[in-house]
Symmetry: C2
Subunit: 388 residues, 2 copies
């Protein structure tokens, strides 16, 4: 015990280095707290802080007004009949699949789906069929292929229990026509889940308008909330399936294990909500900023954005063979790029990656975006001579 | 949208009233942040804050030193071969049951088990057989009944897939002899899960010494961490069952959906860890404080603690028929007690309850405990005349 105490002192004083830098990691850009949320963090940081006046249901707590948020504001926001809090988008996807599928059932995903969608299916024991993308350079999902794949699954004697679309996907920021996918799914009677981890809280998303039976969002990824927290919405048709109650404890919802993201995450989600609504109104500007940035760095020889262009999202995938060529001759190898960016006040590119990487310009000021674009250009110019 | 923005402004400025009071809610006492954790909250409150340098596995992150914490300190602390972070104790229990059970399988719980254990079993589709307690007033679990029940299940042609003990239970704070239960389970070859939501982080708990194959703890309940977060430990025998990897994404663990409690919760868990280790050394004093308190309020006619006495835990269940009698004649009815306590700077008793309630004295100073005991006595004396 004495030893363990000694060796654990280091955990007391941990600092977040990345705070001092412009952070391009797409994971991080949408989860920065609003000023309103930041102001109350200290009051609500203790363990189960929101549960002082809980009568047994997280989503029915009146003080703080979680009930109003979850049962009134959130469904309006998501365009769903009912909504709940989850521990994250992935946990929401698992809850949907676990409610609809038995082991051995088949589900249909876009092939750009996040790894956690596949892992959730594995946890459920469901087989995944994928809608292919168009491959390099667009990696586009053709919505009509959902119909084709549903037919295929049926022909093989199975009934697809769920169709999922990643909106946008987390690699290329491609936004497929969700409404069209939803319409196809409805025609075939296949429940449709929209994974909005990178859209809900950034851009307008309305499940009803997009013909989605389920929608998941991520508080820490895109709703300016402290993690882990997600949102999950559904229709009146699926409410009792997804949020079915325990036979033994009548008020507890089985799929949520009674309660989910208790404590600071829900308070920050609520406190940031007005800010999130406001920023969604500025979405067009975010897209035009991303386009400006991509356009700018496409001026460097060989650099080009992948995914559907012009981009419709702040998350983008960039091919940078020129940096890869430099890395082969640089003594830091693949790490040179990270080091050079850091020297210019920038972090968030995956360490060691030079051939391609993804980044996000979300909520960066135009000055910051210019700094980033200039940094890439400067680094290229600095090492131009290494290339023959 | 305009309306929603208007109506959501109220969420921006939420304050936690209970902070100004002595909080007796057992849920809250063990989750108060340590000073060290509180100091760094602001740095780490953004969304996915710990993931700046993530290579794909939460538990392998080196900066901040999550890897060292999860793979070295935590197993030592829990007395397990392997450990991971979860979104909470209930999520840990579900992960264990989901790893071991098929639908229709049978699991064995103590009848004092937390509702979330039963709901987790319902989510898995497992049938629960319970080891009865001795009922009023001790509600004691006879460890030998685990053997009896296992025999019964086997006689009915089933194999119990898991045995669970709630250590202590969340109503009476009873600590059964976990080691003995573990020994019985081992003799029968039944995996044994210890639910330490109210013990891990408060009192010494070593899974190996208690013959437990699995242990879950709660960061927000008992480890001075911001919620939601839990810990989950297991043996080398079950490591590959519980933490099995995705066939498609080799580094992702299926049962954890790739990653769990990302962000502030893990940082506060780590920052509070030295404090938690220290306070565990003061456990005997916590127990003696609880005994002093129970002894003191047992001086009020009719008031007595339930559960095994003298208590071995800070969480206690108290029968208070005298307050119930007063409530019948008080114009505030059942809410009078809450109101009177609040007037004396005390919250945390379930609103409306007067006949019995649970409370915790954990980490209260002796002065605070005296204030609470005096408050109950004063309230009794104030309304003594209402009783004939």
């Amino acid at each position: 015990m004495e030893n363990l105490i000694q060796q654990s002192q280091k955990f007391k004083d941990l600092h977040r280095e990345a705070l001092k830098y412009i952070n391009l990691n797409p994971l991080q850009r949408g989860g920065i707290l609003s000023d309103a949320a930041r102001k109350i963090v200290n009051e609500w940081a203790d363990g189960y802080s929101v549960c002082d006046y809980c009568g047994g249901c997280l989503d029915l707590i009146k003080n703080p007004p979680i009930e109003e948020f979850v049962h009134d504001k959130l469904p309006k926001f998501l365009g769903t009949y009912a909504a709940r809090l989850t521990n994250g988008a992935r946990e929401g996807k698992f809850a949907v699949m676990h409610s609809l599928c038995e082991k051995g059932d088949t589900v249909l995903f876009d092939s750009n789906a996040h790894y956690s969608s596949f892992v959730a299916a594995e946890r459920v024991g469901a087989e995944v069929v994928t809608v292919p993308n168009s491959e390099y350079p667009e990696f586009k999902i053709d919505e009509n292929l959902y119909a084709e794949k549903i037919e295929e699954i049926k022909k093989a004697g199975k009934e697809p229990k769920l169709a999922l679309l990643t909106y946008p996907d987390g690699n290329y920021g491609n936004l497929a026509d969700a409404k069209k996918v939803g319409k196809i799914c409805r025609e075939y009677g296949v429940p449709f889940l929209l994974n909005g981890a990178y859209s809900v809280g950034r851009m307008p998303v309305n499940a009803k308008k997009l013909n989605a039976d389920f929608v998941v969002g991520s508080g820490h990824k895109s709703m300016a909330a402290s993690g882990p927290i997600g949102v999950l919405g559904t229709t009146s048709e699926y409410e009792d399936v997804l949020f079915r109650k325990s036979p033994k404890y009548k008020i507890k919802e089985i799929e949520l294990l009674g309660c989910t993201s208790r404590g600071l995450p829900v308070i920050t989600l609520m406190a940031s909500f007005p800010h999130v609504l406001e920023r969604i109104r500025g979405w067009d500007e975010e897209v035009s900023n991303a386009r400006w940035f991509l356009d700018k760095i496409s001026g460097i020889p060989g650099i080009k954005p992948l995914g559907i262009q012009p981009t419709e999202h702040d998350l983008n995938f960039i091919e940078t063979p020129v940096f890869y060529e430099i890395s082969k001759k640089h003594k830091k190898r693949g790490y040179f790029l990270q080091k050079e960016l850091k020297a210019r006040g920038i972090v968030g590119i995956k360490p060691g990656l030079t051939n391609f990487f993804k980044l996000s310009t979300y909520l960066l000021t135009t000055d910051e975006i210019k700094t980033v674009a200039d940094a890439f250009l400067e680094i290229y110019e600095k090492y131009e001579d290494l290339l023959e």
